[in-house]
């Protein structure tokens, strides 16, 4: 028997004229945890689908146990013990845990009839193998994400799995859940099963994997034991260049300048109390704290989504009390929500329409939209934002995450916003786009004179981009770290002290 479980030899895959994979080789040994890293669109999913037999490579060879396989299909891939856990888990929410676990095996066995006793037996066995207990009769849709993931992993391990591929498994998990997942992954490994861990989160790769392969633009750009890498090396491999880690510098303007945003004694009982906040032009102020600290509630109140607050809000010296989102926009506020995909964008619509979505009233003459004026504005914004797309007419769902985020930013700039509130601006964005978004935010602050409030859980992001960071806890501002003492350790310490 060969010592390689799976070997991809010089695999290329083309879709029409597009090269998704270019001469990529990958070796997986039995029982190893291997990490496949790369930015969105680098060919990670094409590799997964090639190994799963969904795509047939245009060139190259797939070897399993040292023997070449031809005409590889999904069914054959499963037969040879390869299991893929996709990001959406491919579970059936309307069926019970037991049935979800047993369906695969029963299908593989080519069963025509269903024995419910057997379903329970199979499910019990599958969960026992992972060492977890779970209510077998619960509907899967009633489980939390981490529970669904356990079901998906347990299901993948049935039927003599030898390689489990996990596609971005930690995206929707909290840190304790990630730890639990890693324990399970190591358990799987102890049973001699190889795991291919697909991710773009560097810390997790360094923590869990033994070997690493990095893809960029469909090419393999680095590989080796994890000991050969550190964050900077992986970043360089993934993006192709070093990313600046220069912190944001801001100096107050000379003289007595009016603050952009001045919040005094803002309170909503049960959400937050006595918040005082002053933002000046060009400032980027971080706001951190645990989930439930009241930070999102505070942002939403400013943005007119909960007008029942007491206290005062002043923008550029003018007292405002936004009672609706429209009010807030008119007073010069902009809010970019956490989940830009579900809350912020019309995915099938063009970049242009998405940009104009909140500012159409700025481009009307009479009852009609002034197309010329709107076109000029969106074209200028399209160029200024450096959105990578053929034209402003491109639908937003054709863009990468980072470019989508820029469309959202552009939209708010078109409203003439002077105060920008960002909630988790780079959640789910890969490292290269992240840097570009950060650069854009800084430009907006320095060149356009915006005041930015950046709500984030990402400590490096806050440290790098903010001139000061406020820590919120149980509805109050409890701490503030000024620029001169701001570093990752300091912020981490303060956040840990909250518990």
């Amino acid at each position: 028997m060969s010592e390689n479980l799976l070997e991809l030899k010089n695999i290329s895959k083309r879709f029409g004229g597009l090269v998704a994979l270019d001469n990529v080789s990958l070796v997986l040994k039995p029982g190893e945890i291997h990490c496949l890293a790369g930015e969105n669109g680098c060919g990670k999913s094409t590799i997964i689908k090639t190994i799963a037999g969904v795509y047939t490579p245009s060139e190259g060879e797939i070897l399993i146990d040292g023997k070449p396989v031809t005409g590889f299909t999904p069914a054959q891939s499963v037969q040879r013990g390869i299991q893929v856990i996709y990001q959406d888990f491919s579970l059936f929410g309307n069926l019970t845990v037991a049935e979800n676990l047993a369906l695969n095996t029963m299908l593989l066995e080519g069963k025509k009839s269903v024995s419910w006793k057997r379903i329970r037996e199979l499910a019990t066995k599958a969960l026992a193998r992972l060492g977890v207990t779970m209510e077998l009769d619960a509907d899967v849709e009633s489980l939390p994400t981490s529970g669904k993931q356990i079901v998906a992993i347990a299901r993948a391990m049935m039927g003599d799995a030898r390689l489990i591929i996990m596609d971005e498994p930690t995206t929707a998990l909290t840190r304790p859940e990630v730890d639990a997942l890693f324990r399970i992954v190591r358990d799987i490994q102890a049973q001699g099963i190889a795991v291919l861990f697909v991710s773009h989160k560097m810390r997790e790769m360094l923590e869990i994997s033994e070997r690493l392969t990095v893809l960029r633009n469909g090419k393999k750009v680095a590989e080796g034991p994890i000991g050969d890498f550190n964050e900077a090396a992986i970043t360089r491999a993934m993006t192709g260049h070093d990313l600046t880690d220069q912190t944001y510098e801001w100096a107050p303007a000379k003289g007595d300048v009016q603050p952009r945003l001045d919040v005094k004694q803002l309170s909503i009982p049960g959400a937050f109390e006595n918040i005082d906040l002053t933002l000046r032009a060009g400032e980027i102020v971080g706001l951190s704290g645990l989930i439930g600290s009241g930070r999102t509630e505070f942002a939403l109140a400013l943005f007119g989504m909960n007008p029942k607050y007491t206290g005062s809000v002043t923008i550029d010296g003018k007292a405002v009390h936004p009672k609706s989102v429209q009010d807030a926009i008119n007073s010069g506020l902009a809010y970019v929500p956490e989940d830009r995909l579900t809350e912020g964008l019309f995915l099938t619509q063009s970049i242009e329409r998405n940009m104009l979505a909140t500012s159409f009233e700025n481009f009307v003459s009479g009852i009609f939209i002034d197309r010329k004026k709107a076109d000029a504005a969106t074209k200028a914004m399209f160029a200024a934002m450096q959105i990578a797309a053929p034209s402003p007419q491109t639908p937003v769902n054709h863009l990468s995450g980072g470019n989508q985020q820029r469309v959202v930013l552009a939209r708010w700039l078109l409203t003439g916003a002077r105060v920008l509130i960002l909630n988790g601006p780079t959640v789910g964005v890969d490292v290269g786009s992240k840097a570009q978004i950060h650069r854009k935010i800084r430009e907006l602050a320095t060149e356009n004179g915006l005041a930015v409030l950046m709500i984030s859980d990402d400590v490096p992001e806050l440290v790098q981009n903010c001139n000061r960071v406020i820590v919120m806890h149980r509805g109050r501002f409890v701490d503030e770290i000024a620029a001169d003492t701001l570093n990752e350790d300091a912020l981490n310490d303060r956040l840990k002290a909250l518990k």
Partner: protein
């Protein structure tokens, strides 16, 4: 599965309350005569509802089955008259097959072109009705021409009795066919892989494909099953009312869908049960029957059916949404 049990329990409870209420207003409701009549009215709508249930579990909807039922009935009766055929079994098989083949067209369009089931079945239903009236005929085949063996078959009663006023009545044996089909449907949904594939497809179509279900087969089965049951029910309807009317069942699909929704099947797919559907069918028939007894105008009955659809759908939608949060 507790949710199923729970929603069926609720439906049954509502049914009992409604029956007591209706019985108080109109004591004749509880008479054996009325009960037998009610059960008889369950047969056709019930058999069709079983088909619609399976379609709805798969996440689809079917509004073409009444057209298929009419086509199956009218073509079969016409054929029987043309050939002078004397039996009963072959015509029923023929009607079932006509429905099945027409159902296969639905499955073909829905699977091959990934079309929305509502649009496909609106289209095929309209085409089938139009072709039937345009090519086959528009005249009603009345009792004088209707094959007598069909009428005699549908006349078979399980129990016969004579009321105080001297009229004869009985419990039709057709109820056994309905309950038999219901049992088969239940066993099939619960204990066969293809039955489970319907639930899986209705819950997550993409995942069903990935797990390795042959979803083309699943869809083909679902729509053929609905078509076949409709075809069978169509001919049975003709036999029970002693006439074959090519314009029969107009608007009836709404009643059937209302009954299935009332029985707790989810409009989002993935949820539903035969037991619930039996209860839903009984409830709908009972409500309509009571409206007739209370001499409510038929136009108002449409209003009631519409309200039942909206109300029951809202309830199940609310139930399913709540679970997702």
């Amino acid at each position: 599965m507790t949710i199923f049990r729970r929603s069926e329990f609720i439906i049954a409870a509502i049914l009992v309350v409604a029956m007591i209420f209706i019985g108080l207003i109109n004591p004749a409701f509880w008479s054996m005569d009325n009960m037998f009549g009610l059960l008889r009215s369950n047969v056709i709508i019930g058999i069709m509802a079983l088909g619609v249930l399976v379609v709805m579990i798969s996440g689809g909807i079917d509004v073409s089955f009444t057209a298929f039922a009419v086509a199956a009935m009218y073509l079969t009766v016409k054929g029987m008259l043309y050939f002078g055929y004397e039996g009963v079994l072959v015509p029923f098989i023929a009607a079932t097959l006509i429905g099945l083949v027409l159902g296969a067209f639905n499955a073909f369009f829905i699977h091959t072109f990934r079309m929305i089931p509502l649009i496909v079945t609106l289209g095929t239903g309209s085409v089938v009705r139009g072709l039937l009236l345009g090519l086959v005929g528009t005249s009603i085949i009345n009792i004088d021409k209707m094959p007598p063996q069909l009428i005699n078959f549908a006349k078979v009663n399980l129990v016969n009795a004579t009321s105080a006023t001297g009229t004869n009545y009985g419990l039709t044996a057709m109820i056994l066919i309905y309950l038999g089909l219901a049992l088969v449907t239940h066993l099939f949904l619960r204990y066969t892989m293809i039955g489970r594939s319907i639930f899986a497809y209705g819950g997550a179509p993409e995942a069903a494909k990935r797990v390795g279900f042959d979803t083309r087969k699943t869809l083909l089965f679902v729509y053929c099953f609905a078509g076949a049951l409709a075809g069978f029910a169509g001919l049975l309807q003709g036999s029970m009312i002693w006439q074959a009317n090519p314009r029969d069942f107009a608007g009836f699909e709404l009643d059937v869908i209302a009954a299935v929704v009332l029985g707790g099947a989810s409009i989002f797919g993935g949820r539903g049960s035969v037991a619930g559907t039996l209860l839903g069918v009984f409830m709908l028939v009972m409500v309509k029957n009571s409206l007739i007894i209370m001499k409510v105008d038929t136009t108002w009955q449409r209003v009631v059916v519409g309200l039942i659809i909206v109300g029951a759908t809202a309830l199940t939608a609310w139930r399913d949404r709540k679970k997702l949060v």
